[in-house]
Symmetry: C2
Subunit: 377 residues, 2 copies
């Protein structure tokens, strides 16, 4: 697996430390696995990072000790790393580590810590006499992650391009007599064959009436002639996600199916044309949504137009309509996002078309390279 170099990690850590300075935090507890990986190259479902002005403490239990030791002997070693052993409780070890740092004001990721865990930290600090103030922080690492560096773009491009043969295998499998799960199995085998380390999310194969359910996975239903089939899949390459949706017809599509597909395709094209550095996310969303509304499909498109893509399958920015709970942001060169409008008609079926897009100064580059046709030529 290619991992960022130690120099790259140093740059990332420096940027985080600038944020900590601005917030007058002497230490920062990182608990999101993707954020931990971004700053340290440590891959795992456990582990906690504590970043101070000169040290990165990685708290891990015995299961990860050897893996960390191996990583530190490579060119991707985490700079300034001190491995802090967790013999039993992560919360106990964390509080001991925080005490060791001497920090008086400590930030934590409020979006990645449960109320339960926060209360446990507070109680443990009181019991151990660690008197520092714990302060909520928002999006410190996420903001750094939203614009990808050149090495990340290279991996994301390759992750997107490797979907081409996977899609070809999926299209071949879409035929009468095949089940949704059978198609999913073909897709997942092709993902492995293409060199991905794992699927990026649960593969979706939604056929016939199931295609009207945006988050149906893959069930026992057998594909039938005339079905629309929504295929939504992706793989993880060197930690980075790809995400593609195509909608295919089993045999000849009906006039209604062709119309629905053409409308979503036009909406997607419109949104892709709106993507450029400086464009507001709500404007990109409107570019897709207006096309569908003009064709009488406004109510059939109930989700956002896209999302950022990176170490997580759903990252910032969210590309959606103006909402009180979602900040509209301006796209920047180096962001990677999906554009995936859809239209869902209960009882009939649905269409979604999704590509992975790199934002550039001039406009954008579509990273996924797969035919958007409804039928196999």
């Amino acid at each position: 697996m290619r991992l960022p170099s130690s120099d790259r990690l140093s740059s990332r850590q420096a940027r985080i430390r600038q944020s900590l300075d601005v917030l007058s935090l002497q230490a920062f507890i990182v608990t999101s696995p993707s954020n931990i990986r971004y700053l340290s190259n440590h891959v795992g479902t456990s582990g906690v990072l504590v970043v101070t002005a000169d040290t990165v403490y990685l708290l891990v239990d015995a299961r990860y000790r050897e893996a960390v030791s191996m990583l530190q002997r490579t060119a991707s070693a985490c700079p300034g790393l001190v491995v802090w052993d967790v013999p039993e409780s992560y919360d106990e070890a964390l509080v001991a580590c925080l005490g060791e740092t001497g920090a008086s004001s400590i930030g934590f990721e409020a979006a990645h810590v449960t109320v339960d865990r926060y209360h446990s930290w507070q109680a443990t600090m009181t019991r151990r006499g660690v008197t520092a103030e714990l302060r909520t922080t928002a999006r410190i690492v996420e903001q750094a992650r939203v614009v990808k560096d050149a090495a990340e773009v290279a991996v994301l491009r390759e992750a997107a391009e490797r979907l081409t043969p996977v899609a070809a295998a999926a299209f071949e499998a879409v035929r009468v007599g095949q089940s949704e799960r059978g198609v999913a199995a073909v897709i997942e085998a092709a993902l492995r064959q293409a060199g991905y380390e794992r699927p990026a999310f649960d593969t979706i194969v939604a056929s016939g009436p199931h295609a009207a359910l945006p988050h149906h996975r893959a069930g026992e239903r057998m594909l039938a002639a005339g079905d629309l089939v929504v295929l939504d899949f992706g793989g993880v390459l060197d930690g980075y996600c790809s995400d593609l949706t195509r909608t295919r017809s089993v045999g000849a599509p009906s006039a209604e199916a062709r119309q629905l597909h053409a409308a979503v395709l036009a909406a997607q094209q419109s949104a892709i044309e709106a993507v450029r550095s400086g464009a507001e996310t709500t404007v990109v969303d409107a570019a897709a949504r207006d096309v569908l509304r003009d064709r009488g499909l406004g109510d059939a498109f109930g989700h956002g137009t896209g999302h950022g893509l990176g170490l997580d399958i759903h990252e910032e920015p969210r590309i959606t309509w103006p909402r009180p709970d979602v900040a509209s942001v301006r796209l920047e060169s180096g962001m990677v996002v999906t554009i995936e409008p859809g239209a869902y008609v209960p009882g009939f079926g649905g269409v979604r078309i999704e590509d992975d897009i790199l934002v550039t100064d001039a406009g954008c580059e579509v990273l996924t390279r797969v035919s958007r046709e409804l039928r196999w030529a």
Copy 2:
């Protein structure tokens, strides 16, 4: 997909309402997806449940509306369900719903709500003039889930038994010239073939020195003669998880490999013999741990002996040594747990052997039916 009947859901909801009565809560916010599914049959990554004395509110956005509507027309419909539409923000919709209930004391799942979300709820309640008290709760639904009912045991038994042909395919694939990822691909194709809806977790194929890393996944390493290969995989059937680990040798095993395998096998047998209704989890753990310690492998076994299995791959109870942060509990008839001791020798490799076990009054029933041999006969 088989789903519990409406009657079964009624029983589960009644039990939760008893807990709410004891705690003097008029409403209970459920945010864990597995807990939501357990009480309502709603399957999805979004959605919030609010349980009151006579109603179960399910808050969902447009993506799930049609799926819920389909579910409610079946024999597995959620009793007392009111679907509460979420046009944009889940937090806004939740607070509106809480206001509608008129509840003055409202519980939430402290282990499944982030500090960020909790603060958002509080701010939204203040803004909308909803004055109820929010109170943390712990393990209300998890406690109900820990002992499986007859229908759940039937599914878990089948989920475990279907691993037999998957393991056979995996064993066939363990040979010189195959990569870890190649073996993982064989396993995942076999999981689909066996009828599982998806893998229960990222498949682990850890060969040679990687076998010393308990949480290695599957990489590009090619299997070599003499390697130990740890294979850890499982599938989800009708929502319930199976989980199996076997360790195989590539070709003839060395004396050291055979010794390590024999030690772990003896430890596993000892723990399985200790499993029965009424046994303390720490005693079951010690049964495995003592065997390894007596063979000089105490330091090589750094993780717990097992965990509960159900809708989640890791559930209560945890089977581990006496720890301040983990309650030792008595096993009860109807619990389903894994027993999975291991021994890891940095630089050399490792062994882990894991089965899924149903606790019974008389002792236990091993649900997984796969040879534990180090070599293919």
